[in-house]
């Protein structure tokens, strides 16, 4: 799994303010992720998991702290550069799929490539992008649903479409925010299998936010956030800030062996 430090964050603070009320969500989070790693961020609701993901994914800026990606600081980049980063380097998967309802599944998958193309360049490269989108749709098992609108797809299918969309730009880093949160158990498992597959075969680095420890256990590493902090004190893991192994969670069930056949989603 892990290679060099790919992304790391230091002393991240984030406070949400509404009128006179301030709600600190992150209170000094340090973390890192190595290239090719599949990292889970777990924690209870309101612990700051999604906020952390938004900061790392440059969807939002920290109030205090720094974020580095490939040794370059990204939290202070201009809006344009952050847009570029999200479009070219990062992929996002959300709990509620967040597909555009007016577009077909295939069009939804193509959107990131459309965002980076002008009309004229699309006229030249559109067919290549389309082929890639079709390949990805087939890869996530939706070759037969490409021209359906999101409302005509099941939850699992919508999430697969969202995964295909996240992958179409060849992202180096995939952010998955509760990707199984809105799915039944079996479908959720399939989705995680698919992500694991992407990580292992395509070497996509993944940061997955989840509150489901069972799902998290299938990843390389787990960070637990509690009330805006990484729960495990830094000094216990000098080699990796805030990192805990799944087995170190007291409340986790015993580690299970995941037979290879269960780690491969059908059809991939």
């Amino acid at each position: 799994m892990a290679g060099n430090t790919f992304m790391y964050a230091q002393n991240l603070h984030k406070i949400y303010r509404k009128n006179a009320i301030s709600t600190p969500v992150l209170k000094g989070v340090d973390m890192e992720v190595a290239e090719g790693e599949f990292l889970s961020v777990v924690g209870a609701s309101g612990s700051g998991k999604s906020t952390l993901m938004h900061l790392l994914g440059s969807l939002d800026k920290p109030d205090v702290g720094e974020i580095y990606y490939r040794e370059k600081r990204i939290d202070n980049l201009s809006a344009d550069k952050r847009d570029h980063l999200r479009n070219h380097d990062f992929g996002f998967i959300f709990q509620f799929y967040h597909l555009l309802p007016e577009l077909t599944a295939l069009e939804n998958v193509m959107i990131p490539l459309m965002i980076r193309s002008s009309v004229f360049s699309w006229l030249g490269n559109g067919s290549v992008a389309r082929k890639r989108a079709i390949t990805l749709m087939e890869k996530v098992g939706l070759g037969h649903r490409m021209h359906h609108l999101p409302k005509e797809l099941s939850g699992g299918e919508m999430q697969r479409t969202a995964i295909a969309r996240a992958l179409i730009g060849n992202p180096a880093l995939l952010f998955a925010d509760e990707p199984t949160g809105n799915l039944d158990e079996d479908t959720g498992r399939e989705i995680v299998q698919l992500l694991r597959e992407l990580n292992e075969i395509d070497n996509v680095t993944i940061i997955m936010v989840t509150h489901n420890l069972e799902i998290a256990r299938g990843t390389h590493r787990i960070i637990k956030l509690v009330a805006g902090h990484v729960e495990v004190p830094l000094q216990q893991h000098p080699e990796a800030f805030g990192v805990v192994r799944p087995e170190s969670f007291d409340n986790l069930p015993e580690d299970e062996n995941h037979p290879d056949e269960t780690r491969r989603p059908a059809g991939i």
Binding site: N87, F92, L103, M114
Partner: protein, 470 residues
Amino acid sequence: MYKLLLCWKYLRTRYLAMVCIVSVMLGVATLIVVNSVMGGFSTKLKERLHGLLSDVVLEAYDYDGFTDAPSKMALIRNDPFLSNEVEAMTATLEIFAMLQFNFREVPFTRPVRIIGIEPEGRKAVGGFAEHLVNPKNHENPTFNLDENARERFIIRRASRGIDFPGPREAPNLNEPPPPDPPPSKPHEPQGVILGYAIAHYRDRNAPADLVNKDVRTLEPGDEVVITTVSGAKMSPVFDRFVVSDYFKSEMSEYDSNYVFMPIEHLQKLRTMEDRVTSIQIKLKDYNKAPKVVARLRELFANAPLEVQTWEQKQGAVLAAIRVEKGILNILLFLIIAVAGFGILAIFSMIVVEKTRDIGILKALGASNGGILTIFIGYGFLLGLVGAGLGTIIGLEITVHINDIEKLIANVTGQDIFPRDVYYFDKIPTDINLFSVFLVNLGSIGIAVLFSILPALRASMLHPVRALRYE
């Protein structure tokens, strides 16, 4: 590329936006119809205002006129510049008068304007012969009575027992011989051409299906008496005339006031031989009128003459038409402005509805400018489609406006376009493509303008807040 795709998808799927399209469409259609009809009226009115007036008019300041018109015309003809620009010219003499006639044994008197003309010359200047009702007069306009008119004139006179001498009595040799008998042909007064509305009135009680509702009060061959003033002392003079034809320019002011007669006759009647009140000039190219006017003013700088183009002469009326059209356009454009507020309201709703989608797009790397472009482009598309449909509907209505008017009149029983007001047979329309273009441009501009605010709001949305929007 995604902006284009989303604009197109939003256009096809947001039925709420159809309201915007319909409001722009109605505004554009209304503007095109009103502009075309106003333009039609305006063009027709201009044609008619121009009708009797030549391109350039050289006229005296008062009714006494000026002398020696032939030498003035010769001067113009011999001017190197003017000789190339002037196509035709003729002298006219104009004066107010009273017209008296009997209709159904009731005497009528009405004020008129007498215009003394030389028919051939007036025809050459234009705006006269083609408006004469008797088709024979189109080619060779004349004040002479045609056969039917003469017959009527003779019969009318005979019925009044005048002009036809009775049987001769046996000569009384004790008395001196009587003077020579009057000529056997009755004395025929001078023919005049009356404005159509002087000799006709519209019967408002006529059956609806009657095509010609005009009642004639004076037939060709009927006699009239014209009283005007003569010389500097303004002493009244009058003479008997006979109607030879009608002048129907469809311009109410001319048709109900003007009486034409030969200029020599009018000069004699007013004892002002050799005097005329204006010289009417027709140009080869009206675009050169300002230069011609300047040259004429130079040429007659010392003479008490006014030189004007027909537009300058009718300046007040033409300015009124322009102002009227301008104000109407502004008022009607408010309709589209109202549509603009509709777009603003509906777009704001759509932005709220699309908040999460905006968050998704931003998460996927769409820039603020990109989001702004989507919504402005959407406004542009709504404007474009609305204006396009409005143009088609507006042009269709304009082309078929008379059929539509008939249909509405039949259904409601109300005469929407009373033809006797303007003496128009149908509602005139004039589709000005440039104004259609301007209306389209304005409407699309308003649609874009009113979509800027919601588009800005959309573009400024924070991606995380937008993604979390419920």
